[in-house]
């Protein structure tokens, strides 16, 4: 602060401090913008490279035919059985993990004492951090050893990966539901479970759908848990029975990429493209469904 009696033009003049603060502000601005652009660029690069390398081998045959091994090695058929298998695995995993995740989130945000809730949140964070290959080995030791590989084992391994993703995301979403709505329900004499069912869940529906999609997207491409549990396929045909090992896209990508045949490599890229498109479509559909339900509400 100036000690001399200030005149207006003195007060408004830029000082060295002002210039420095402005420079720092600009620098932070630029660095953050670059980081944001880089994040988007990475996404675009990944999608673009998969699209460019996968498109040539993408064909109706790839999507609709089962694998056929030619005498010279290499797959001359498609990956239809893997697509079907992956869908079955992800559906079973999500049928287990999504409702459980929602319930865990409801318990921690609505019912659990604060200390217990913190403990559960911590446990879920650790579960999220466990390398998925460890989960694969665990399920292998519990469900595969002494029995055999199966779609069930693979789906349960995926469910373990999916659960903390869904639960943590749903916790954040439920915590965003205004406390005032909860109080409004309580003050009307509504029972807790009814407040959850009629007020909290509908209010959070959009976020819960996003949480489920996040979980599905996360496990659709998980490979490690499947290598131990559902990777040895007895036949190349269509398998829909989860009691047997189910062919699936991630493991198929892995084995195609390990093949010596360049045609198989192209197919691996195409399979990767199928996976990415599947996840993108799912996100877009979920958003659309959510928007439609909100629009309906607005009347």
């Amino acid at each position: 602060m100036a000690t001399a009696p200030p005149e207006a033009n003195v007060l408004l003049r830029k000082t060295a401090g002002t210039r420095r603060r402005r420079a720092v502000s600009r620098a932070v601005d630029v660095v953050c913008t670059v980081a944001a652009l880089a994040a988007v660029a990475v996404l675009l690069l990944v999608i673009a490279s998969v699209a460019v390398k996968g498109a040539p081998a993408l064909s109706l045959r790839l999507l609709t035919e089962n694998p056929k091994v030619s005498p010279f090695g290499g797959n001359t058929g498609g990956i239809a059985n893997s697509i079907v298998g992956s869908v079955i695995l992800v559906v079973i995993a999500s049928v287990i993990a999504v409702p459980m995740g929602v319930m865990v989130a409801i318990y921690t945000t609505e019912f659990a004492p604060p200390k217990v809730a913190t403990g559960i949140r911590f446990a879920l964070d650790i579960l999220t951090g466990i390398p998925t290959i460890v989960i694969g080995v665990f399920i292998f030791s519990v469900l595969v050893v002494g029995a055999h590989q199966s779609g069930w084992a693979g789906a349960i391994a995926l469910a373990i990966v999916e659960l903390p993703v869904v639960a943590r995301s749903d916790q954040e979403v439920l915590a965003l539901v205004p406390r005032a709505l909860h109080e409004a329900g309580v003050a009307l004499g509504l029972k807790r479970w009814r407040i959850v069912l009629r007020v909290i869940l509908p209010t959070a529906a959009g976020g819960l759908i996003t949480g489920a999609v996040l979980g599905v997207a996360r496990v659709a491409g998980e490979t490690a848990p499947l290598i131990f549990t559902t990777s040895v396929f007895s036949n190349l045909g269509l398998t829909t029975n989860p009691s047997a090992a189910l062919p699936n896209i991630p493991v198929t990508i892995l084995s195609l990429s390990e093949s010596p045949s360049p045609k198989d490599h192209a197919q691996a890229w195409a399979a990767a493209l199928v996976l990415i498109v599947f996840v993108l479509l799912l996100s877009v559909t979920a958003r659309a469904v959510h928007e439609r339900s909100r629009a309906k509400l607005r009347g």
């Binding site: 005032a180 109080e183 409004a184 329900g185 309580v186 009307l188 004499g189 009629r198 007020v199 009347g299």
Partner: protein
């Protein structure tokens, strides 16, 4: 106590009201002593205003009356609160019953955002499960008529409640409270989020409602207390300083602290 005893069933038609009495009430948040040994009577079919500076315990006091206080982790209350002589803290009484008999309106209008105007008012009724169809529709209409909202919304009952203006939303919330036919209505600064027109409308409504309900209103606005309340309670630092007819509190308060507060010398 049995809050659904015979005296209750006739009350909606007649004007026989219900008196709330707090005796030696102490409320805590953990170690913090928010309400200190308050004894006060809220007379039937009257509006009682609670005034006092922020943090004086006025909200906590009303939240003890419908046991909302205990919803806060670590909070507890001691002493007694009775409705027509029946202890609302009696372990034999279900807390949700207490809250249906003693309704509450909050500071910020809080209609359920996913529900239509109709469903918002019906929300409390549907918990009983018995109300359906015509009967439910009639009850919703009565409640909306009671808060003067019916003519404004009757053609758009299916539209979301959050599409209404702030003042309309608050009247919707009052309709939601009135619909379950409580005996007492607690209002925690119900107009602090509203513009003057909305505020005026709510104040008129309070005046109409007092013929059927016992009303306790917390307010920051002393003019509002002067306009709507039969009697006024002044609280300071968790203590009840003075309770008397509103005119007396504002013109000839007995306590010096009350006088300094109502004349704007502090607070």
């Amino acid at each position: 106590m049995n809050v659904t005893d015979s005296s209750r069933s006739e009350t909606t038609a007649t004007v026989s009201g219900h008196e709330v009495v707090a005796e030696h009430l102490n409320a805590y948040y953990g170690a913090f002593h928010a309400v200190l040994d308050v004894t006060v009577t809220f007379p039937a079919n009257e509006v009682t205003a609670i005034i006092g500076p922020s943090g004086c315990g006025k909200s906590t006091l009303v939240r003890c009356i419908n046991r909302m206080h205990e919803e806060v982790p670590g909070a507890r209350a001691e002493g007694s609160i009775t409705l027509d002589g029946h202890d609302i803290y009696d372990p034999a009484i279900d807390v949700t019953t207490v809250r249906r008999v003693i309704g509450m309106v909050f500071q910020k209008p809080n209609p359920f955002p996913t529900m239509s105007i109709f469903d918002n008012v019906a929300a409390g009724l549907r918990l009983a499960g018995a109300k359906r169809g015509r009967d439910l529709h009639d009850r919703v209409e009565q409640a909306l008529v009671a808060v003067g909202l019916w003519d404004e919304v009757k053609d758009r009952l299916g539209r979301p409640g959050i599409g209404l203006s702030g003042g309309q939303q608050q009247r919707l919330c009052i309709a939601r409270t009135v619909a379950v036919e409580p005996e007492v209505i607690l209002m925690d600064e119900p107009c602090s989020a509203l513009d003057p027109v909305g505020t005026l409308r709510i104040e008129e409504l309070i005046d109409e409602l007092k013929s059927r309900y016992t009303i306790v209103i917390v307010t920051h606005n002393m003019q509002q207390a002067a306009r709507v309340a039969n009697s006024t309670v002044f609280m300071l630092d968790g203590e009840l300083v003075e309770h008397g007819p509103t005119a007396e509190i504002f013109t000839q308060p007995k306590d010096e602290r009350t006088e300094r507060y109502v004349t704007g010398k502090f607070g």
